[in-house]
């Protein structure tokens, strides 16, 4: 039963209040988002996305990988010359030539990324732990010579032996790094493991920690929140959760969850979320599913009876925020799950005035129509159905 007790302790600790001023978002739509297999942003699109993120109030933008050169470097230079309010961070391998390319772009911050797990060190890098630590020291040294803000990214941190991860974090801190990015590269953490690992690093090493989580098991947002609860103060997000494989922690989901579930309001202009999500969806060719949390077009479209009735009595009965908060609209549609109340509400809105017994009859008619169409009804079909009903009853 000890396991239960530890988790209870974590959960209680996780309910402690956190000062919103301490929490910062580092959005990586332009880097990890673009790294999604099949996605390429045009430079104009990158510039537009950077502007929107800055407008909304994001603290830092990860703009790309200068070492790729060419167009990529050009886009980063242009974004760096726009005079945005937010900090700009460029992604690098722990290699001096990568950092030189970043310097040439004029960014104020760099991420220095290297794997910390044995499986990656041995099978991907084909090097040793000592080599990894030394590469980090050398590159942090170099970046600090040029007064860059430095995040050291522990790639595949989740599969890294904790003892070595602590050594890795200490090595980064002592070399002068400003923060450690904890990368759940494969998306294999659950919130409790995340809490435990982040708290351990934070308590022992005391460095600022950034969460970078993946959604392979659908837990990217929850794991980022668990990290914050355990003492992390940065989260690396992407708009719409764009990113490799199943994607990253979605910017809009994380920000709204912090605000409405955790009482951590970052003060962002959430009204622009839908617009921004749509822009990124179009630029990436990854259309927003209609049920996508926060910005999906269907999430404030209601059909079933109880949901509509209770929502209209008090919106908080079924939603924690209003559609306008994120640039969406509330709508009632009629279909198989419609009932008396929803019909009355919708038909009055459409200008019909039926008495109660007529509405009761229409419920059955509408339900059967939806069943035969195998979908909900368009407004024009509702009008048609009502007109027909009136004609046959007059």
């Amino acid at each position: 039963m000890r396991g239960i007790n530890i988790l209870t302790e974590f959960s209680q600790k996780a309910s402690e209040k956190i000062d919103p001023k301490l929490i910062k978002i580092d959005d990586t739509t332009l880097r990890d988002g673009e790294q999604t297999a099949g996605v390429v942003f045009a430079n104009e699109e990158k510039i537009h996305i950077a502007k929107m993120l800055d407008d909304i109030g994001v603290h830092q933008i990860e703009v790309g990988i200068p070492a790729m050169g060419g167009d990529e470097k050009e886009a980063i230079k242009r974004i760096a010359s726009m005079g945005l309010n937010c900090s700009l961070l460029a992604w690098n391998r722990a290699v001096i030539s990568d950092l030189e390319a970043s310097r040439e772009c004029g960014v104020d911050s760099v991420a220095i990324s290297i794997s910390s797990s044995d499986i990656h060190i041995e099978q991907k890098l084909r090097k040793t732990r000592e080599w990894v630590l030394e590469s980090v020291r050398n590159s942090v040294d170099y970046a600090k010579k040029y007064n860059l803000y430095v995040s050291v990214n522990a790639e595949d941190a989740s599969r890294t032996d904790m003892e070595f991860l602590l050594q890795f974090a200490r090595n980064a801190r002592d070399a002068g790094a400003d923060r450690l990015r904890y990368c759940d590269t494969l998306g294999i953490m659950d919130p409790f493991e995340t809490f435990m690992r982040i708290k351990t690093i934070k308590d022992i090493i005391g460095i600022d920690i950034e969460m970078h989580t993946h959604n392979d098991f659908g837990m990217a947002v929850a794991n980022s929140i668990a990290g914050i609860k355990a003492g992390a103060n940065y989260v690396n997000t992407t708009i719409n959760g764009l990113g490799e494989r199943a994607g990253n922690a979605a910017f809009e989901e994380l920000v709204m969850a912090l605000k409405h579930i955790e009482n951590i309001d970052l003060g962002f202009n959430t009204k622009k979320f839908k617009e921004m999500s749509e822009y990124v969806a179009n630029a990436s060719g990854r259309i927003i599913p209609s049920w996508k949390p926060i910005v999906g077009s269907n999430i404030f479209v209601f059909e079933s009876e109880n949901r509509i009735k209770l929502y209209n009595a008090n919106p908080r009965n079924y939603e924690l925020f209003d559609p306008e908060d994120v640039g969406l609209e509330f709508k009632v549609i009629l279909g198989k799950y419609s009932g008396f109340y929803s019909l009355k509400y919708k038909l009055e809105l459409m200008g019909f005035s039926f008495n109660d017994s007529q509405i009761s009859e229409l419920v059955g008619i509408i339900r059967n129509k939806a069943i035969s169409l195998k979908r909900s009804l368009f407004d024009s079909e509702i009008v048609e159905t009502c007109d027909l009903y009136l004609k046959s009853n007059s």
């Binding site: 988790l7 167009d71 659950d190 659908g218 049920w291």
Partner: protein, 388 residues
Amino acid sequence: MDTEKNIDDEKINIIDSTLRSGEQTAGVVFSKNEKIRIAKMLDEIGIPEIEVGVPSNSEHERDIIKAIINLKLSSRIFGYCEADPKEVDYAIQCGLKNIVITVFTSNGHIKEKYNNRRTLISKLKDTIKELKNNEINYIISAEDGTRADLELLLQIIHIAKNKGAFRVRICDSVGAFDPFKTFLRINTILSTVDFPIEVHTKNNFGMATANGLAAIRAGASSIMTTVNGIAEGTGNTALEEIVMALKYLEDVDLGINTSRFRELSEYVAKASSRAIPVWKAIVGTNVFAHESGIHADGVLKNPRNYEVFDPSEVGLTRQLVVGKHSGSHTILHKFKEFGIELTDVEANEILAMTRAMSVDLKRPLFDKELMYIYRDYIDSKNEENTEA
């Protein structure tokens, strides 16, 4: 350093509600044949319990429910009713032996639905009487249960226990909880009363699966799912996500045939006209597609570098995508597949051409396009040679 595992594999139950909660998605209607097909598939892959529909909805719905009961599947079949004896009568007409009874439990919901708690409890008791008279097995479902007063929730659980319900379902109907809050609530309930608890979590803030998992870690023994997570609003815990998360993150194997997950997801996606996003966790086609040089190289050296499980486990295949972020290893590997052995120099020169083309097209390249590039490359080499 692992937090200790405390989940009993034998006791975790899945009740899939694609046919009820899933169909309740605004705009979605399944046909009779689709409902039957989905029920069969869920049964075949080993889902213990299936919620098939709302008997009070229509004659048509009752007809479908009867047809599914007549299939005599191994899965236990449930209907869904509000706490109202009249609704139960419709369920009995279909021949249902198992029913989920819903009561609305948060203060806001109670005010609208029942006016007060006393009415709620008396409705519930009347309904239970009807169920017992007809020897129906039942689960009591507490709508908006995460925001309900704990005292009321415990009262409902006591009624369930005393009157022979076999479980109580607690619904996070507005997705108001995070995993830690979920854990505390379920843990508190189970420390007070010993009774099987099921959870139904919503994805309003993207945490449905994590919350479901937290509830299970706190001792919940059943979880309600839908295929692809389809349901009203943002949806529910996705069947494929929770099953794989339990298996790979918590070491709890429910013995479900996961190799048919992609097939099942595709079928439900078609039937609901809700296409699976390519990045959908577990079943999206992009989950095993690798483009960036680092990832593709890592996967080629050892798939476990970037994949937790093999794509065949969920009915998918691995793809290497050649695009802007590709590296020379991918080029070498791709051309090897085409039967062409490139030298490192050739691979690097072709890489520069593929990157430029991908940036220009704003997408990765098809295999055909790679071959065109290869021919262009060979032609230009030949020209150079002739000129020399």
